[in-house]
Amino acid sequence: MSQRSALMGPALRMGGLVLALVLLVVVGVATGGERFWSTGNLITVLSLAAVTGVVSIGMTFVITSGGIDLSVGAVVGLASVWASTLATQYAAQDYGWWVIVVTALAVGLVAGLVNGALVAYGKVPAFIATLAMLAAARGLAEIIAGRRTQVIRDVEPFFDVFQSRPLGVPTIVWIFVVVAAAGWFLLNRTTFGRRTVAVGGNPEASRLAGIKIKRHTLYLYGIAGLTAGIGAVILLARTTAGSSTHGTLLELDAIAAVVVGGTLLAGGRGTITGTVLGVLIFSTLTNVFVLNNLDSSVQAIAKGAIIVVAVLLQQWFAAREKVTST
C-alpha cells in the first residue's frame, strides 16, 4: 500500500494542476473555438511559454534546495545585451552564430556563479544576494546597451537555426522541451538531484552526511544562471534584439510557476513536471485572455483568483491522496 501511495502520490498531487489546465483549455475552446484549438495557436502558447519555462526549470532546482533567485529576469536582460553588442555581432559574423549563444550562456552562468558564491561562501541570504544581483545586472545591462535596443543584423545563420521549425514545431519550443526533460532527469535520476533535495530538506544533516553543500549550492545557482542564459538566447531569437528591459519581472513569473507547480518554497521537495504544468497554465491563461478581448484589469483579478483556485484544487487532491492511501 505504501508502495502504491508512493507511486500515486505525485500523480494525484499533479491532479489539481492538470485539472486546472484542462478547465482552462475547456474555457479556451468554449470561448475561442477554433481560434483557440488550432495548431497555430497552440504553438503560439508554447512559444510564449518557452522563455519563462526554461528559466523556471533552473529556478526549480534553486527553490528545491531551499534557495531563491530573484535575479533571473535581470540576468536574462544582461545576457541578451551582452550577446548582441556590436563586438559580439562582429565576432559572430567572423566565427559563427554560436558566438552569440556561447556569450549569452557564459554571461548567465557567471552571474549565477557569482550569486552562488555569495550565498554559499559569503553566507549572504539568497534573497538578498540575488536582489543585489538584480539591481546590478540591470544597471550593467543599461550601461552596456546605452539604454538602446541592440538589433542583431547580418548574423542570418543565428536566425536560421533558432527560427526554424523542425517537424513543424519552432526550435525554441524544442529547446524548452529538451531543457525540461534534462531538468527532470537531473532532478530525479542523478546524484546531483538527490543532493539538491537533501540540501533543501535538511542542510545540516546533508552536511554531516558528507555532502559538500557549499559547492553544491554554487552549482545550483550556476544552473539557474545558465537557464537564464538560454532564456536570453530564446528572447534574442524571438525579438531579434537584445535589450536591458528584456526579462523584466520574469523572476516573479518563474517563481509563481514553480510554486504553483508544487515545489516547496521552503525546500526539500521539487517537481519539474509541476513546474512545466505551472508554466503552461500561466501561458494558456494569457492566451485565453487575449482571445476573449478581456480588459487587462479584469485579467489581473481573474489571474489572482485562478492562482488561488489552482492551489486550493491541489490541496484538495493532496487531501484525497491521504484518504485513499490509508
Binding site: E142, R147, R238, S243, F289
Partner: protein, 323 residues
C-alpha cells in the same frame, strides 16, 4: 470636486472630427490592437482613444490584446493575430526593435501593420507608421526654456526624466540637451522617475533637496507631474518654472489658471493609436487619405510636438488627456 470626467471619453480622446466620405461604412474589418500596459494616464488614453475610434465605425471590430510591458508576451499576441487572420494590426510596441521581426511576419502573411509611436527597425515591417516625436519633444522643451532663460548662462536647469531604460526617454533627453546646448545652457541635475505619481514625487523631493536654487525644470511626463507638483508644494518652492510633457488636461488647467509653477507643457499626442486605427481601416478597405492628392495611405505620419502655454492653451484643451 473637479476631478470628475469633464467630457465623454471619445471627445476627450480624439478631439474634433471632420466627417468625410471615408467615414461611410465599407467592408467589415477586424483590426488587432496591441500596446504596452496601460499603467499610466497617457498609455491609458492611448488605448481608450483607440477603442473609442473603433466604436465610431460599425464596420470595424477591434480586437484588443492585454497591454503588456513584456515583449515576449506582446510577440505572442501578434502571433495570435496572424494566426486568427485579422485584416490589419495596429501595434504600439513596448520596444520597436524587439517587435520588428514579428511585424515582418505579419506583413509577409499579408496583414498590414500600422506601427505607432515606437518605430520598427525595418521599413518593411509596417505598411504605415504614426510617430510621435520624442526627440522633437525634448527640443521643444529645451527651446522654450532657452527662450525664457536665454540671457542667463548660469541658470540652473533640472530634468525629471521618465523610465530611464526606455529608448524614448533617451531620445527626449537627447533632444533636450541639444536644444539647451544651442543657447549655452546645460542640464545641471537630472533624475529619472517611472511615469508614476509616486516616483515623480519621490525623485523630485530628492532633486529639490539637492538643488537649493533652480531656474527651470523640464518634466518628461504629466502623469508623474502630479507627484512632481506635490513634491514642489511640499518643499514650498517656487523660484523656478516648470515645463511639462505629454499634455494632460490637468497641466493645461494649471497653465490656464497661471497660479502655479507650471508655465508650459509639450504635447505628445495621445491620439496616435486612434490615428493608427483610422489608417488601419483605410488600408484594409483599400481607401486613401482624402485630404491628400496622392492615392493610398502614406508610409509615415509624424505628429507635431507643440508647446502649450497660457497663450494657446484654449486651443489644446480638447486633446488634453485625463491623467
Amino acid at each position: 470636486v473637479s476631478n470628475e470626467p469633464r467630457e465623454s471619453e471619445d471627445d476627450a480622446a480624439t478631439g474634433p472630427v471632420a466627417v468625410t466620405e471615408n467615414d461611410e461604412p465599407g467592408d467589415e474589418v477586424v483590426i488587432g490592437f496591441s500596446a504596452p500596459a496601460a499603467d499610466h494616464g497617457w498609455m491609458g488614453a492611448i488605448t481608450a482613444a483607440a477603442r473609442a475610434e473603433a466604436e465610431k465605425y460599425e464596420d470595424v471590430t477591434l480586437q484588443v490584446a492585454e497591454g503588456t510591458n513584456d515583449v515576449n508576451v506582446q510577440i505572442s499576441q501578434i502571433e495570435g493575430f496572424i494566426d486568427q487572420g485579422v485584416d490589419a494590426i495596429v501595434l504600439l510596441p513596448f520596444d520597436g526593435a524587439a517587435l520588428t521581426d514579428v511585424a515582418l511576419e505579419a506583413m509577409e502573411a499579408g496583414i498590414p501593420v500600422i506601427n505607432v509611436d515606437r518605430e520598427f527597425t525595418s521599413p518593411f515591417a509596417a505598411r504605415s507608421t504614426v510617430l510621435g516625436d520624442n526627440y522633437g519633444m525634448g527640443v521643444s522643451a529645451g527651446t522654450y526654456i532657452c527662450e525664457q532663460l536665454g540671457d542667463n548662462p548660469d541658470a540652473v536647469v533640472a530634468e525629471i526624466a521618465g523610465i530611464d531604460s526606455l529608448p524614448l526617454t533617451q531620445d527626449r533627453s537627447q533632444g533636450f540637451e541639444d536644444a539647451l546646448d544651442d543657447c549655452g545652457l546645460d542640464v545641471d541635475a537630472r533624475v529619472a522617475a517611472e511615469f508614476t505619481v509616486e516616483s515623480g514625487e519621490e525623485q523630485t523631493a530628492n532633486l529639490l533637496s539637492a538643488e537649493p536654487e533652480i531656474d527651470a525644470i523640464w518634466n518628461h511626463d504629466d502623469d508623474q507631474g502630479i507627484g512632481v507638483l506635490a513634491a514642489i508644494e511640499n518643499a514650498g518652492r517656487d523660484e523656478f518654472f516648470l515645463v511639462g510633457g505629454a499634455g494632460s488636461k490637468n497641466m493645461m488647467d494649471l497653465i490656464q489658471s497661471g497660479d502655479s509653477v507650471v508655465q508650459a507643457t509639450v504635447i505628445y499626442p495621445s491620439t496616435q493609436a486612434a490615428d493608427g486605427v483610422k489608417l488601419a481601416r483605410l488600408v484594409a478597405q483599400n481607401k486613401t487619405v482624402s485630404d491628400l492628392a496622392s492615392i493610398g495611405v502614406p508610409r509615415q505620419v509624424q505628429l507635431y510636438a507643440p508647446v502649450v502655454t497660457a497663450d494657446n492653451v484654449e486651443e489644446f484643451l480638447p486633446i488634453g488627456f485625463d491623467s
